[in-house]
């Protein structure tokens, strides 16, 4: 194992001598998993920035009752574009593809993933899908506007979606289909890599928990994505052929679409959150400088969430008029998912106990993850309970709930991961103070934005409303929420600036700035082209801070 200050050429600099106008091809053509990860990082956060901007537009429109800046049609396109970018271009690919790609091989002591060329292909497929998705914006342009796009919401619920702007909606559906291929390929790659490429001595229960989470995630992507792929294609075909799968006017069944859509899209929620949980687990152990509490419980709960997550999809459609037996079963399974999730939260907090905690930016984001995700998970209980769901379904409560899990959870987990692994990826450190400031701005903005939406939803404010009935207090909460959106956007800009500015200008760091015990910290920072000078032989667990500390229980 290479420890200390080694000075081999890092993966960032291997092609230093080929500077020229085409040097970007050294990246675009590279089959190095680390470079692919970095490309995903830049691409995904570019889309994130765009979608945050659109999100702010949505909140500005809702700041006061009545029409402010956008007419209803534009508003509908805005929230559709916001969700399509956030879900398909950002949060689904972000954590698995950025950090899965970069760190999975490093963490298991491998030189690369099993299929490096397929890995590059999946990035290209992602890029192609993204371009097609964005090209949809130039179809279906209404009179007097300069930009169009799909206006169906990301759920594409027929028959509304089959009657609206054919070109734009079909393009978006096609893009989602293509993006699905990218994630399937990545998933297969990771599964094979974890099975076949682990370093000698690295048994399953010595794997870092991020690897376990990635493993569970990969299985979800591989098994669930084909279902949504074929469903979206059926809807595209329905437009251009006289076949009625989903449109009742053609003899189809709109509920069938919703079932097939959510069979994927519910497990997809765990694609968004599981890797974030994995990253947070790593961070909490490292910044507490102690072993994780309940390693096996966390590993198995990842698998448990992935497995049970397949049997809860219909809780997105409790109101369509399903049989009561189906309602009973789906509500029951929904509550079962709560249990492994709760176990994870308890294990993380227990890991803090008697640790040696340092509140560096990654840890702040990880703790905020636990807080936000707890709110997201607990409000999920309201929506899982049938009678309460009837009241809250399709209101702002739901919007707040899934933003707490996807953004407060998945997003903050991702930000924590970037702050944690940034020095490893670039060999340099961002500005600590600015990172802490941007954390607090983000945290305050996020909660100011979404807590009022819980209350609005309880009062009966439906989601996807361009305009709302003016009432005292209603208006105040909407305004508060919009102000939160602006604070949040400020935080995002600060944070992204901090990262972008310091990739080449930041202070250089040593090989192991956080004193991590997992394998990726046991090699040079930033890593060499093939990760390790020699493949390490693993004898210790991933969070082995030694049992020789004073007062430790010798287990």
């Amino acid at each position: 194992m290479s420890n200390g200050a080694t000075s081999h050429i890092s993966y960032l600099d291997v092609d230093r001598k080929y500077k020229g106008p085409l040097s970007f091809l050294n990246w675009l053509w590279s089959i190095d998993h680390k470079r692919i990860g970095v490309m995903y990082l830049y691409t995904a956060f570019l889309f994130f920035l765009v979608a945050v901007g659109i999100g702010v537009c949505i909140k500005l429109e809702k700041m006061y009752p009545g029409q402010q800046y956008f007419d209803p049609d534009t508003y509908n396109r805005l929230f559709t574009t916001h969700s399509v970018i956030m879900i398909f271009l950002f949060i689904i690919p972000a954590l698995p593809s950025i950090f899965g790609n970069f760190f999975l091989p490093l963490m298991i002591g491998a030189k690369d993933v099993s299929f490096p060329r397929i890995n590059l292909l999946s990035y290209w497929v992602y890029l192609l899908g993204a371009l097609i998705a964005l090209s949809g914006l130039f179809f279906h342009i209404p009179e007097g506007h300069w930009i169009g796009g799909a206006n169906t919401g990301w759920t594409f619920t027929p028959p509304y979606s089959t009657q609206e702007g054919a070109a734009a909606v079909s393009t978006t559906l096609l893009a989602a289909f293509i993006l699905g291929w990218g994630t399937i390929l990545t998933g297969i790659n990771f599964i094979v890599t974890i099975h076949r490429m682990r370093a000698p001595g690295l048994t399953w229960f010595k794997l870092p928990l991020f690897v376990w989470a990635s493993y569970a995630t990969s299985w979800i992507t591989v098994l669930a994505t084909p279902v949504v792929g074929i469903t979206l294609m059926l809807q595209v075909l329905e437009r251009f052929m006289p076949i009625g799968w989903f449109d009742p006017a053609k003899g189809g069944d709109p509920i069938l679409f919703q079932h097939m859509f959510w069979i994927y899209s519910h497990p997809a929620v765990y694609v968004m959150i599981l890797p974030a949980m994995g990253a947070v687990t790593e961070i909490i152990a490292v910044f507490s400088q102690r072993t994780i509490f309940g390693y096996k419980a966390i590993a198995f709960s990842s698998i448990g969430i992935a497995a049970v997550g397949y049997f809860v999809w219909a809780h997105h459609m409790f109101l369509v008029g399903m049989s009561e037996t189906a309602q009973f079963v789906f509500s029951f399974f929904t509550f079962l998912v709560a249990i492994p999730t709760a176990i994870k939260v308890f294990n993380w907090t227990a890991t803090l106990y008697k640790g040696s905690i340092k509140l560096d930016p990654p840890m702040l984001f990880a703790l905020a993850f636990i807080f936000n995700f707890s709110i997201g998970g607990l409000t999920g209980l309201f929506l899982g309970a049938l009678s309460v769901d009837v009241h809250l379904h399709d209101t702002d409560f739901v919007v707040a709930h899934f933003h707490y899990t996807m953004f407060g959870g998945g997003g903050f987990g991702l930000f924590a991961a970037v702050h944690y692994w940034y020095p490893k990826m670039f060999g340099r450190m961002y500005n600590m103070l600015l990172a802490k400031i941007s954390f607090w701005v983000l945290f305050i903005g996020f909660n100011t934005l979404y807590i009022p939406m819980f209350l609005l939803g309880l009062m009966g404010m439906p989601r996807r409303y361009h305009d709302y009935v003016s009432r005292p207090y209603f208006d105040d909460l909407q305004k508060l929420s919009s102000i939160g959106a602006m604070i949040l956007a400020t935080g995002v800009i600060l944070m992204l600036f901090n990262w972008a500015f310091h990739t080449k200008r930041g202070k250089k760091v040593g090989d192991n700035p956080w004193n991590g015990k997992t394998l990726e910290w046991q090699t040079q920072t930033p890593p060499v082209l093939f990760n390790f000078d020699e493949i390490p032989i693993v004898t210790k667990g991933p969070y082995d801070y030694g049992d020789d500390h004073e007062g430790s229980d010798k287990k």
Binding site: A342, L381, P472, D553
Partner: protein, 347 residues
Amino acid sequence: MDKKEFISETFGAASTLAEKTDFAFWFIFGVSLVSLIGITCFMIFCCIRYSRKRNPVATNIHGNVILETLWTVIPTILVMFMFWFGWEGYRYSKVVPEGAFLINVTASKWSWTFEYPRSDGGKMKYASAQNIPSAADERMAGSKKESQAMVVPINTPIRINLFSKDVVHSFFVPNFRVKADAMPKPSIDTPNYLWFEATKLGLFDFHCTEYCGVGHSQMSGFVKVVSKDDFKIWLKNKSEESILIQKNNPGFVIWETNGCASCHSNDGDNTNKLGPSFKGLLKRKRNVRNPDGSETKDIVADFEYVKESILFPKRKVVSGFQNVMTAQDLTDEEIKQVFEYLKTIQD
């Protein structure tokens, strides 16, 4: 309206189901709040007590069987209770008591139509109020739009069958804690339904909660809960009125109950309207867009134009308006009646 009044109006339970739903809600709320506060306080405590300054060397604890069993079993029991309370309330909301009063509610882009049984066995139909600027103002002013509320008697089980003419809509009355999707189906043998028993007099908002396009946020209205006696009188009067209007002005009824009114006004007021007003329709010259994108200028509407616009709304779209109208499935006879009605509102 003072604060207390407002809160009871927006959160306030106003149906028998609402009490059950709220019980489940507060149970989950209590458990969640305690858990959240517990987790947060513990995290903060650890960050302070076990900071690197105070506790430079960590203690490695790999697990604790008793603790882990406890925090698996206790949440399991709690969520099972949540599940059961939710299920019980839901079952209550799905078993309609015998003899419930039936109202058929039909959604279309972007309006609601209510159909009541008349005492003589016929049907009485009218459309919901459109484009409500402010529920609070309406309540205080008691303006004419209140007459287009869905009127129901207090302490009486009401069953609502939900239909949709075009896309999926959803009927939601926050104070009653009821909501169900209105599904479009080729043949509606088992429509989706909900039932409630109102326990408070007054006006309550309802909303469309399934995204349905540009007019989605305008699909709101009122439920008006009245005493049983008032309801009988109202139903009788409204029935007589509807028979009379139907006889004298069938075109008006079609305009109102087919959702035309949600986008086309009959008084020239275009506030919040997606289509051109019907007032003066037969006199105005207008420019229209053809399907191939070309424009035809200075068309004056005649019967053929009106008929084409009802049956094939995408063929001629008046400039300045969006191509969003759904084709209306009216018979020739009905179109003639509409045309007769249009003639009466030209000045």
